[in-house]
Symmetry: C2
């Protein structure tokens, strides 16, 4: 009985190994071969970034479709298969899957630079923790964030660390920089090579509609949105110092001053980073806007209304010092409902205050083909006109994780060097 079971188990195991090869297969010349079984399909296309973008596969007589790339440069590649017009399938022979906004992709890395930084090596590893912190946003009660602690953190109980707050884009969440951004691997490898100082990295959830990544609460949830206007209305920026920074500085050994705080955000997170730092000019010495979406979702009319109302209420309260509690509460509620809007008000004045004592680094990176390039240009013109200093990194490519990972590699060595 016992023997027979094991024999069956081993046979199953061998069969399984034979029928499910690793995918894609690396060939001797550095190209990669994709294979996908779809005997009834009329067309199969690879969907991925760069060299894998819309690559048409070729049908073989056995019902499999194949595609062989040219020699691939080092990178973390994402892909899936599109059958006929719009049926998306994952690669059944590749278990490495990440979600980006609403799509799931297989991933694989091609060794070399930069992908060697995206891969786990046998170096000291930091810890990644998912924590929930109290939050007022949309009455959720609590929201989740990811925290990376450097490998040496536990062994140095007397040491405090600088903090990088790292913000995702529209459609992302507290997992985005870990999954698509390879944050933990990049930090471990950069710190091990002495390329950046050990630091804490905090990755909050900047989606005002979701308290945490999909799956944490598997009842019906709002979906991640590609264009998430609800997260461009000031809520996230207003709550940031009050809720996120307070939690982090109370729960971790952080260096709590401007010199030891950095904030970087991609796309929507770039909007958040821009306005969080402009509204809190003494908090961050390192500001990085990566392909930033620099415009919020408020109309000029909303901002005008806000200005009129706060001005009117201010006048009223200053002129009528004794008001009943009911009226006072109503006034406070009204002020509160516009507090988020105030985040985007008077940006020129706020930038002037911020750059009166300028940050050590104000970093802007964007790809030449990026859809937000013209917005970045407008923000740069504003900075240039006022003669505010910043470091500008214009690269090839567009609004892609390929770029954002590379920007992070470029940014990290620049942080906390003036300690």
């Amino acid at each position: 009985m016992h023997h027979r079971l094991i024999a069956i188990a081993i046979a199953l195991c061998i069969n399984f190994a034979q029928s499910h090869a690793q995918s894609p297969v690396k060939l001797a010349n550095g190209s990669y071969r994709f294979t996908f079984y779809a005997p009834d399909a009329n067309q199969v296309t690879l969907q991925g970034e760069g060299a894998l973008h819309k690559a048409k596969m070729t049908k073989q007589s056995n019902g499999t479709w194949t595609y062989t790339t040219h020699r691939l440069p080092s990178e973390m590649y994402t892909y899936n298969f599109v059958i006929d017009k719009d049926a998306v399938q994952l690669d059944p022979n590749n278990q490495q899957v990440v979600r980006d906004v609403n799509n799931h992709y297989n991933i694989f890395c091609v060794a070399g630079f930069p992908a060697d930084y995206y891969m786990e090596r046998n170096v000291p590893h930091g810890k990644v923790t998912k924590v929930w912190y109290p939050s007022s946003i949309n009455n959720m009660g609590q929201r989740r964030m990811s925290v990376y602690l450097p490998a040496e953190y536990d062994a140095n109980p007397q040491k405090s660390y600088p903090v990088l707050y790292l913000l995702h884009g529209s459609g992302g969440d507290e997992n985005a920089w870990l999954d698509m951004g390879r944050l933990a691997q990049i930090m471990d490898n950069m710190i091990a090579e002495g390329k950046c100082v050990p630091m804490i990295v905090v990755m909050p959830n900047g989606n005002a509609m979701l308290d945490a990544a999909p799956g944490e609460s598997p009842y019906m949830q709002a979906k991640p949105e590609i264009v998430n206007t609800e997260s461009m209305r000031g809520k996230i920026e207003r709550a940031f110092p009050i809720e996120i920074m307070t939690y982090v500085e109370q729960h971790y050994r952080t260096l709590n001053n401007k010199q030891h705080r950095a904030i970087a955000g991609l796309s929507l997170g770039g909007l958040h980073a821009l306005y969080i730092t402009a509204n809190n000019p003494t908090m961050f010495d390192y500001v990085a806007l990566l392909s930033p979406q620099t415009t919020n979702a408020l109309s000029d009319n909303e901002i005008r209304t806000y200005n009129n109302i706060t001005k009117g209420i201010g006048d009223l309260v200053s002129r009528v010092p004794v008001v009943g509690n009911t009226l006072k509460n109503k006034i406070n509620d009204k002020i509160d409902s516009y507090a988020d809007v105030a985040i985007y008000d008077s940006i020129n004045h706020k930038l002037a205050t911020q750059f009166a004592t300028p940050p050590q680094l104000y970093y802007i990176a964007v790809g030449r083909d990026d859809m937000v390039k013209h917005l970045v240009d407008m923000h740069r013109q504003k900075l240039d006109a006022a003669n505010y200093g910043y470091l500008y990194n214009e690269t090839d490519g567009g609004h892609t994780w390929t770029n954002w990972r590379k920007y992070l590699l470029d940014l990290l060595p620049r942080l906390f060097q003036q300690q």
Copy 2:
């Protein structure tokens, strides 16, 4: 410019929301309606557990396929769509996806008992951390595990906690109990209700072929295996107290005695839990075997060889006290290569020692339709014959996460009650 961009953004957002509804949709009578667009398919089948198992969908004139369930009882359901014979697709309208062995599934919960325990509620949340610990297994250097700390942990720096070691099955890894098992949600909710004591839960990776879950190191990796014989050869069990428990007890505030240690494992993890506790009879007061695979992957011949060799070497070394270093090293290497095998040797004798001072709880749970039921029966016969006490929980169903989550709900209140 600014206005136009926002107008486009909002339009995109509305379009997106309209064209991508939540899925599945709950109907008034408690049934659920699945919808899937596949105009060219000849057949679409739901692939899932229980009520969703191989449910055939119906094609509508607009190219979508639909299926409406009966009223669904509360549970966390997994599903995906199988088009024609074997093309598997995820639901494009449900972003909640988990991996089970080599397959990805969408998930959703139906409220009530038990699924209310699987859902994030606004109760104090514990922290989940991914850590790497030093390991000798297959020269990996380091392996990854998940650690759950109860919500109160940080606020009670003088308090130490009992530890539950929770082991996954074949094809799983350090994420399995978190993703499929909903461990963090279950712990948060059970602790908040006072149904179990606050405890640390350690979820190691018990796959000897992988240092971490797929995706952590996205070069080509070994795939998770459904029948993972390499993890049934004693390596995992031997390394457990030396590597995992040492790390945990050094890095967390743990109560380091038998009364405050529990170990539970499902399937392959049940094998590991059985032999870890039998080989370390004074370590665990709570042992839980959930649908355990109780046989290892070693042949009688391998165990016989081991017995002969260790006996022979023992005789040799005792009779020839002065041996050269080279020979000594060779002998030690030989002994070392068989040390893992020794884990499975003399189980009856080991159980006798374990039950001489019996654990507070030796818990066995299995479903009546479980493929390992006959193995569990054999193990129970062994325990019965020797009159060793245990608690037996036989349920409906088979080798499923539905059962394992329920077993955990049943088990947790029984742990650490005799403190």
